[in-house]
Amino acid sequence: MNSFVYIEPSEKGIDSLTRQIVSGIRKIPSALRGSIKGISIGKHLEGKDSELRGVFDELIRAEIPSGEEYNIEVISKILEDILRENGPALLFLGFTHQGMELGPAVGWHLGIPVVTNCVELNWTEGKTITIKRPIQGGKLILSMGVHIEHGAVISIQKGGWKDETEGETTEAPIKTTCLPWREGWAPDKTEVLRIIEESMEGEEDITKAEILVSVGRGLREPENLPSMKELTEKLGGMLSCSRPVVDLGWLPGTRQVGISGKTVAPVIYLALGISGQANHLVGMDASRVIIAVNKDPLAPIFNVAHYGVIDDILEFVPELLDQIKQQQAS
């Protein structure tokens, strides 16, 4: 059995999720999982061999024409070929936008099981692994037994496993196999026209904040925003939000934290009325201290928060403001 890890393009070289995935795979006995081979598509890891050493046992680098790094049709065909030619194998990906699209596509064509959104994996013997994944908005956990005789595709939720690759480096060069471009990988249905960077003109950069006051669906209506803004000002922080607040047009997308928005790591993350869907948590779970206020005691945000308050934010925030005023007055 071979274990492959798809390395998503990232300005940071190897991103933290990829490192988390490799750390998790390394805990599986090597006799079962085989060597860990990274798959890099395009040029994004060129000149970054020192980063790769000690993380992967081997690297497969597939050449593609410039501009196709975000063409899922192309990447999917390449991953399928690599697994077909080196199978049976496990393909690990991040549960990201790319991973959500690639994993099921590759699994369908190869006819192997696809397990998405994995948070725990246990493989100690044989050809069956036990995987845990959230269901019902993270309020319940599903355990599955996955039979991997013919391989499997497994996508991992950020934060599911801890990054333990730091400091693991070696002087030995990483064995790299280059795959030249194949005509069969050319897209026939998808053309990537352009990549659109988010405009930050006139907007605060929430990734720079030391304190983030972040609001979610518990806000209920935009008329309740002023008290959240007042609290943000009093605490000397910046205001951010979860996806529904942007979808409803109450705050701009530049303030969104999560898989579709920004990844933040402030000193204090005060989550107000945010239930804590996985897509939000991946954007803020590295915050130093997370304080969550939610009226639902089962809200998944309490599983990642350091401190929790069960309350309606529309009643708790005015109390916070009163207490701040009293402290300032004394």
């Binding site: 899922i72 599955m144 998808t190 990537v192 026209l193 990549i195 605490l235």
Partner: protein, 256 residues
């Protein structure tokens, strides 16, 4: 131009007690179903295409009779026709497998699917449909910019606040995100009126047949559903509201 939109009924706030594992599948008892939120956005996007391009719109769902409300919502929002495949499953392979035959028959130019369901939280169904129907695909679509007889131009999220603009050859599957179109309020009268509309049945969910057809993909067993581990759970701040507020400010003060 024909646009199909796939919608899912998801259980309302399902607790552990309402979950049961039946024949290797997850089912929910004693709970109501409502439309998966992102599928409601897919419906709105389909209705917008109907208005802009005179598209014929058809909504499909896989679910038991109690999920039929999803299709009434579709009709009330302006979808032309609705189809239900009868049966209960949580497994994305079986949902996709059940939708493939009616979609082949309908031969739509566009299939809209919500990117992810609130209950399974995977995002597989739209991707499986695109592969099985040999269609182009885009995931996390936030805007349908242009549609003609041969192509659709869209914008999709690629993470970190960035987007990609794509042109797809038709037919194509678009897995849409929340926010792609505003959700409109439905009056009780509109909902009630929709209940008179006919709902076409596309037969029964054939779990065994689909499992045999894609046996390699179905090589897994549902073992158990449980509550998340208490490990890592927040330290809860209790007491009167005033005391809790003081404690929160004290924690912030100590850390900063």
């Amino acid at each position: 131009m024909r646009v199909a939109v796939c919608c899912k009924g998801v259980p309302v706030d399902a607790m552990l007690e309402s979950v049961q594992i039946v024949n290797g599948d997850i089912q929910y008892k004693n709970t109501d179903f409502y439309i998966n939120e992102v599928d409601a956005y897919a419906l709105e996007a389909a209705v917008a295409l109907k208005a802009a391009y005179q598209a014929e719109t058809i909504a499909l769902t896989v679910g038991p009779l109690r999920t039929q409300e999803v299709l009434y919502i579709a009709i009330a929002k302006g979808i032309d026709r609705v189809i239900r495949i009868d049966g209960e499953t949580s497994l994305p392979e079986l949902i996709a497998g059940s939708l493939i035959p009616p979609l082949k028959e309908l031969a739509p130019q566009l299939v809209l699917v919500g990117a992810q369901s609130e209950d399974w939280m995977g995002g597989e169904v739209g991707v499986y449909l695109a592969q099985a129907l040999h269609m182009g695909m885009a995931f996390a679509v936030v805007e349908i910019c242009e549609l003609n007889e041969t192509h659709v131009r869209i914008k999709k999220e690629i993470g970190g606040g960035r987007k990609a603009e794509l042109r797809l050859t038709l037919p194509a599957v678009l897995c849409v995100q929340t926010g792609i179109a505003p959700l409109r309020y439905l009056s009780a009268m509109k909902r009630q009126k929709a209940r008179n509309a006919p709902i076409k049945s596309a037969g029964q969910l054939d779990s065994e047949g689909i499992t045999q057809m894609i046996s390699g993909m179905m090589a897994y067993d549902i073992k158990e559903v449980s509550l998340p581990s208490k490990e890592g759970h927040a330290e809860m701040i209790t007491g009167e509201r005033m005391e809790r507020a003081k404690k929160v400010l004290e924690i912030i003060g100590n850390v900063m």
